[in-house]
Symmetry: D2
Subunit: 449 residues, 4 copies
C-alpha cells in the first residue's frame, strides 16, 4: 500500500536541474502529498548539493509547504522506504562529458553524449552505478518506482530491466514534450487539442500527430516546420532537415535525428565548437557555474529563468507529471522509456523503447505502435543493436564488445579511427571504468593497439 505522505529520493540531487524538479513538485502540491524530499549526492558533489539543496529548501518554504528537504551523502538512508526514486546523476561530472565530446572531435568524429561515442562511454560509466542503486532499492524500497533521467536514458533503463531484474523503472526525457509544445504552436493549436503518437528509442524516435477530429496533421506540421525557424531544443544545433527526405519518412523526426540525417553539417558545427572550446559540455559547464552563483543568493526562492538555457526545459512537466500520474493513476498520455513487449514490432520483445504510453497506477502501459516503414525501421534497428552491444560491454568490460559497439554505431566511422578513439577514451575515463581495468592496462602496456 502506498503511503499517504510520500518520500521521494533524488540521486544526483546536487544537479543544476533540481530547482525545476522542486518547482514541478510545488506546482503539483495538491496531487502529491509529499512528506520528505531527499537529495543525495557524492562527496565530490557536496558543495553543489548544499547550494542547490538550500535553494530547494527556500523554494519549499516560500511555497508555504511543510515538506522536509534532506541533503545527504548517504544513499542508503535516502532510499530507505522511499516511494519514488529519481536519478539524474552524472558519473565523473561534467569533466567526463567534456572528454566524451572532445576526444572524438579531436579525431574528427562526433562525440554526441547520448548515442554517439560519448554516449557509449556515458553508458559504460553509468550502468554499473545504476545497477548498484537498483540492488540497494530491492533491499531498502522494493516497491518504489525508479524514474531515470540519467542519459543515455534508453540504455540505462534497458540495463535496469534486463540486468537489474527490476521492473518498476521508467526512463524519461524532455525531448517529446518540447516537440509537442512547439508543434502545436506551429499549427496554432493548444497542445491538448492534438494526439501525439511517438515510437522509437531515446533520442531516436519519430512521431505522428492527429487533431481531435481524427485527421492526421503530421504533414501539416512538417510543412510549417520547413517554413519556420523555431528552435525545438536548446542543446542541439538546429540545421534544417532536407524536406524531401522528411516528407518521404511520413513521420516527424526528433531533433537528435540531425546527427543521423545531416551528419556532415552537424560534425562541421561541432568541430567549430571544439576549436572554440565551446562544445556543448563546456558551454553547459559555464552555464552551471553561473547557475550555481545564482543559486547561492539567499534571496532567490524560486527557479531562476536562466535555467531554461541549460537544455532541460519541461523536465518538471515530464518527471513530476510522471510521478503524479503513477501516484494518482491519472492515465495521462506520456512518452516514456519502458519495456517493449511487442508495442514496436520491429524491435526485440524484451528491450526498452521510447513510446507513447498511458501512465496508470500500475505504471506505463504502452500504446501499441506496430511496424515502421523501412526508412525508420532500419535506423531504429541498428540503433537498438548498438545499444544492446554497448550495454553488454558496460556489464562485462569486454574489449571485443566495446569495439563491436563502436563499429556498428552509425555515428562512429568504423576502422582504425574507431579503435583509436575507443582506446583513448578507455584510458581517459579509467577512474570510472573499473570493469574495463584489465583492458585499460593492456592498452597502456601496448598489448592492445
Amino acid at each position: 500500500m502506498i503511503k499517504d505522505r510520500l518520500k521521494i529520493a533524488t540521486i544526483g540531487g546536487g544537479s543544476s536541474y533540481t530547482p525545476e524538479l522542486i518547482e514541478g513538485y510545488i506546482k503539483r502540491k495538491d496531487e502529491l502529498p509529499i512528506k520528505e524530499i531527499w537529495l543525495v549526492d557524492i562527496e565530490e558533489g557536496k558543495e553543489k548539493l548544499e547550494i542547490v539543496g538550500n535553494l530547494a529548501k527556500r523554494m519549499v518554504e516560500n511555497a508555504g509547504l511543510d515538506w522536509e528537504v534532506h541533503l545527504t551523502l548517504d544513499r542508503r538512508e535516502a532510499l530507505k522506504e522511499a516511494d519514488f526514486v529519481s536519478t539524474q546523476f552524472r558519473v565523473g561530472l561534467l569533466d567526463a562529458r567534456i572528454k566524451d565530446e572532445r576526444i572524438p572531435l579531436s579525431h574528427g568524429i562526433l562525440g554526441q553524449e547520448t548515442n554517439g561515442a560519448g554516449g557509449m562511454f556515458k553508458a559504460f560509466r553509468t550502468i554499473p552505478v545504476i545497477l548498484d542503486i537498483v540492488k540497494d532499492m530491492k533491499e531498502l524500497c522494493p516497491n518504489a518506482w525508479l524514474v531515470n533521467f540519467t542519459n543515455p536514458a534508453g540504455m540505462v533503463t534497458e540495463a535496469v530491466l534486463k540486468y537489474g531484474d527490476f521492473e518498476k523503472v521508467v526512463g524519461l526525457c524532455n525531448v517529446p514534450i518540447n516537440h509537442n509544445m512547439l508543434e502545436s504552436k506551429l499549427i496554432g493549436k493548444d497542445v491538448n487539442e492534438l494526439v501525439f503518437q511517438y515510437a522509437g528509442l531515446n533520442h531516436h524516435h519519430w512521431h505522428k500527430v492527429f487533431d481531435k477530429e481524427g485527421n492526421e496533421v503530421t504533414s501539416l506540421i512538417m510543412e510549417e516546420m520547413f517554413k519556420s525557424n523555431e528552435q525545438v531544443l536548446e542543446n542541439i544545433h538546429e540545421i534544417p532537415f532536407f524536406e524531401e527526405q522528411i516528407r518521404d519518412l511520413g513521420m516527424l523526426p526528433c531533433g537528435y535525428h540531425r546527427y543521423y540525417y545531416l551528419t556532415d553539417d552537424m560534425l562541421k558545427n561541432e568541430i567549430e565548437e571544439f576549436q572554440k572550446n565551446a562544445t556543448r559540455a563546456e558551454t553547459v559547464k559555464k552555464l552551471e557555474t553561473e547557475l550555481f552563483e545564482l543559486y547561492k543568493d539567499p534571496n532567490l526562492k524560486v527557479k531562476p529563468e536562466q535555467l531554461t538555457k541549460r537544455g532541460g526545459t519541461y523536465y518538471s512537466d515530464a518527471a513530476c507529471e510522471l510521478i503524479a500520474s503513477i501516484y494518482n493513476d491519472k492515465r495521462t498520455d506520456m512518452v516514456v522509456t519502458t519495456r517493449n513487449n511487442g508495442a514496436l514490432d520491429d524491435l526485440p520483445y524484451d528491450c526498452a523503447v521510447e513510446v507513447s504510453s498511458i501512465i496508470t497506477g500500475a505504471g506505463p502501459m504502452p500504446i501499441n505502435f506496430g511496424k515502421f516503414a523501412p526508412a525508420e525501421r532500419g535506423m531504429v534497428q541498428i540503433m537498438k543493436a548498438m545499444e544492446e552491444v554497448t550495454i553488454e560491454a558496460a556489464i562485462t568490460g569486454d574489449y571485443g564488445k566495446a569495439l563491436q559497439a563502436f563499429t556498428i554505431n552509425p555515428l562512429v566511422p568504423s576502422g582504425k579511427i574507431a579503435r583509436t578513439v575507443l582506446n583513448e577514451m578507455l584510458v581517459a575515463h579509467k577512474k570510472h571504468l573499473p570493469q574495463f581495468a584489465e583492458v585499460i592496462e593492456k592498452i597502456e602496456n601496448g598489448e592492445i593497439k
Copy 2:
C-alpha cells in the same frame, strides 16, 4: 471537419435495444450536440420500428431536447452525411437465431449464436449485408465512424476491415463493462479505482486487473468470484468454473469461456432448454414481444426497467460513450474490437482483436498487450483461425471453406455430425444466404451429402 451538430444513423433501428441507446445519448446531451437521429429498418421490421421509434421520440421530447428523430426504410437517406453510423441489425430476425440455436441442439451439439455453429451462420448472413452498408457509407458518408454491435461482432468488424477496405469501424460489446462492474463490486472498489487490461477476441477474451496503487488484483477477484454466486451476464448460463484451471490461467476469463472450459455442462443445460422450447433465442423472442407491448404505451417516456433482462445491459454506456469519446477526443479507456497491428503478438498483424484501447478523436489506439501464456494462446489462436475461415466462407460461398470452419471450431464436434448440421443449416437459412445458392441447390439435389 466534424459538424457542430451531429447526424447519427442506426441500422436496425427497430431493435428492442433502441431505448437504451436513446437513453445513453440523452445522458450525454452535454457532450453530444445531436441534431438528427435516424432509425433505419427493413420492410419486415417496419412495425417494430414505428413502435420503438415513437418511444424514442417521446424520450427525446421528455428530456426537453430539440433532436429530430427520423424513422425510415430508406437506408441511403439515413446514411447521407451521417457523422456516426451504428449497426444493430439481425438478418432474418429472431427466427433465424432460433434456427441457429435449435438445429445444432437437435443434433446434440451447441448452437452458440456468437462463436459456435449458430454464430458462424450469423456471420454468413450478416457479412454480405455489412459490406453492402460499408459500400454505401463510402459513397454517402465517407468520414463517418461505423460502430458495430451486430454479432458476431469480431468477425463482422474483421470483414469490414479486411474486405470492406474501410478503417473507420469499431466493434463493440457489453461483456467487458459487465465484468468491470461486477468485479469491482466483488472486491469493494469503485469501477474507476481499477485498471482493467483486456485482450483476446470478441466473446473470447481474458483480462487482468490492477488497483490504483499498481498492485495486480486479478487473483483477489478470482478468489472472490469463486466464493460468490453473482451473475455476470443475463444471457449465458452461469456454471462455476473449475478453480484450479482458472488459477492456472492467471487471467480472468469472460463469461463466454464457459462454452470452452465447461462444454459438457453447458451443452447439457442447453439441451434442457431446447427440450422446453426455452433456448435463449426463444426466451428473447418472448421478452421482446413483452417489451414491444410496453413500448406501445404512449405514456412511457423513458427506458423501461424490463429491458435489463434482455441481456444488453450497459450497451448505452459502451456505445454512447464510444461515440462521445471519439467526438470529444476524450481518451477514455474502453474495450473495443479494432485492428490488431501487433497489439496482441500471438495473433495475425492485420486481424481484428478485442483489446483495451484509448479512444481518441482519431479512433481507438490499442494498449499493447504482448504475448499470452500457452493456455490462453492456443485457444485464442484457433478461434481466430476459425473466424478467418468463416469470414472467407461468408465472402466466397465456398462449401469447403464452410466445412473447414465447422471442422476447426472447438465448439463443433468434427466429422459426420458437423457436415450434417452444416448442410441442414445451409438449407434452413437459404433465403438469407445468396452467396451459397449453388451449394444449397446441390445439397437439396443430394449432390452434396
Copy 3:
C-alpha cells in the same frame, strides 16, 4: 572426435521393435562401423529383453558381423561412452497403454495414446524418466546423440530440449515415411522422384509434394487418395477424409488428422473396439505375445514378416538412416522433431516441431517452412499450446496444469467429463506418477473431486 567403431545403446531394448532396428543396422553395415550394441531394459522387461536380445544376436551372427550385442539392466553401463542412444521404452508397459485407451473410452471419449488423454498420460509418465536418462547422458556420454522414438515423441523431445538442457536430441516417427511410400505409389512415381515438404508437430503435420520438374503434385496425390482405398498406417482406423475440406487445406494431412477432422466416426469406431476388448493397445498386446513366441524360435535369424502388422513399419528406414546420416554427414532429407528456431513462423521460437530437415554431421538443419494457411495454423497452434501445458504438468505435478491441458486439448471434451477422466487416470497410473503423489492422495481422499 567420433570413434571409428561405434557404441549404440537402446533404452527399452526389450521392445518388439528391436529386430527391425537390428535389421536396419545390418542393412547399413557399410556405413555404420558398429562395435557394440547395448540393449537396456528394466527388471520387469527382463524376460522380453532376453528373448529379443537373443534374436538380435542371431541376426547379427547370421549377417556375418562381429558386432557385440550386450543385454543389460544397468542403464549407466550401457550409456557409458555411447555414440548414439535410442529410446523406445514404455513406462508401465502395454498395460499402462491399455489404461490410457480404455479409461477415456469408458467415459465415451477418445483415448488416443499419442496426443489425446492417453498421450498426455504417457507424457506424464515418460518425461521424468527421459530427463533422468539425459542427466546420465550428460555425465556418461555427453557427445552422444539421443534418438527418441518414445511417444508422444514431440512432447518428449521438447521436454529434453527445454527442461533437460540438452541439444543433441532428435525425435523420430515413422508416419512421414509411410506417407511418402504410399503417395509416390499412388501417382506412379518412385519415392526418390518426389520432394516432400512436411511441417507441423508429431502426429499433427501436413505436407506438400513436388515432382522433380518443380511442379506441385499435392492436389494430384489428393485426388488419387480420394479414389484409393490404400491404408497408410496399420495402427489407425482409416475413415475417408471429407474431400472438400482436404482440398480447402491445400496440404496433405497425416493419418492422425482423422482424430481431429472426423472425431465422431473415430470415436464410434474406438468405442466398438473398446466393447470388443480390441482397443489398439489390447490388439498390440496380443500381437506382441505372438511376436515374442516367434522370437523365441532359435532358428529365427531374421526379422519376421509379422512385425509389419505391429504398426512400426519403416522405423528401421527412419531410425537407422538418421544415425547413418549423422555419422556420415549424408545430408539426407528426413522428417524429424527438432527445435523450431523460426522454421515454422506460427509456432514459438524455442519449441519442438516436426519438419523436413537436412541431416548433417552437425544434426538436423530444418528446411524453412514459413507460415501456414489459417485452417492448419489454428489447429497446430492449439496443439502446441496443449503440448506445452502438458509438459509443464509432467514436470511440476501441478493439478491445475494437468486440468488445463485436458481442457484445451481438442480431443478431450472439456468440463466435468475431463475432470472425471483426469482424476481416474491419475489414480490408475499412481505407481508411475511420483510427481503427482500429493495430488493423487487428495483425489483418493476426496479433497479433489
Copy 4:
C-alpha cells in the same frame, strides 16, 4: 514438363564471363542435355558478343558437343521457350561503373558498386530493365527459371520477386563459394568435409562452419584466418579485420564486410586507387580489353587462365551447378538469394535474402537460420531497409526516396555530401535513368539543389 533437350538464354551474353559459363556447362555435359545456348546482347555490345560468342562456339566444338550457340541482339527470340535464362548484363557498360565509383570518390566517399552509392545507382539503372525482361519471360517462357548474377544481385532479385510478380528467380554470387574453398584449405579439409551455414544479404552475409562430426569449427577458421595472408576475393582490397571484433561476432564475415567494419582504411585505399585512375572499374576495364584481345585468337578453344583475375572465379561452379541442380533435382546445398519466408527471423517475411539452401527440382528451399546476435542483426536490418528504399526509388523515380536511401546507407555519410553526390550521379547517368527524367531536369535547372 521440362524438355529433354534444354534451351538456355544468357542476357548480357557478350560479357567477358561467358567463357567460364560455357566451361561450366561443358563440365556438366552429362547432367545438362543442352540443345541451344542463346547469347543475347544489345547493339552497343555487338562487337564483344561476336568475339566472346565465337570463342564459345569454338569451346563447344572443341568439347565435341552438338550444342547450338546462337548470338543475337533479339532478346525476345532468345527468350522464346527457353528453359533457363541467366542475366549478367550491365546497363551503361563499364563506363557507368566507372562513374559509380569515381563520382563518390571525387567527394571523398566510397563508391562500392554493389551496396554503396555506386551499387544504388546500378540498382536504379538495372531494375527497370530486369522487370522488362521478366515481362517478356512471362509471355515467352513462363516456366523458365531466371538465374540472376547481375549486381546488386540482392536488390535485383528482390525487385523481380516483389514488383515483377515472378517467383522462379534465383540470385547468385560467387562470394560464398570462394569463402568455402579458402576456409576449407585453411584448416586442411576438403570443402565437402565441411557444412557451411550462410545467412544475410548479398555481399552482406555471415556464416558458421561445422565439420562432419558435428563440431563447430567457425572459431578454428577464424584463428587460421587471422594468421593467414590468403586473399579470398580478387576484387576487394583485403585489409585484416580486427580480431577482437570478429571473435565477438561469433560468425565469419564475408569479404565485403571490410567496407562496414574497416570503413576508413577501405576508403583510404580506394582514394589512392582513384588518384591513380586505378579504381576497380578502371582496372576491370583494362583487364577486359586484354581478355577480349585473347578471346579473338581463333586458336583459343578453352577458357583462358587470365579470366580468373577478373574477379568472378567459381561463377561456373555456382551458376551451372544451380542450373544442373534444378534440372536434376540434385538437392545440392548452395548459397542463393531467394525469398525469405521467415528463414531469417530478423528480416521481413517477403524480402530477398542470401541463405544456404537445398536446390531441388522445385527451386531453392532455404535452410532455416533463425535469429542473429545483435551485432549482425542491426547491420543486416539497416542494409535490408536501405535495399527496400533503393528498390522503391528505382521503381518510382522519386527523389525523396533516392535521398532517403542515400541517407540511411551506412556506406554513405549523410547530409550535404550525400545530396551533392546523389545529384551529380543522377545527372551523370541521365541516359540510363528514364524514371528519374523529371527529377534530373529539376537538378539541371537548379530547382533541386
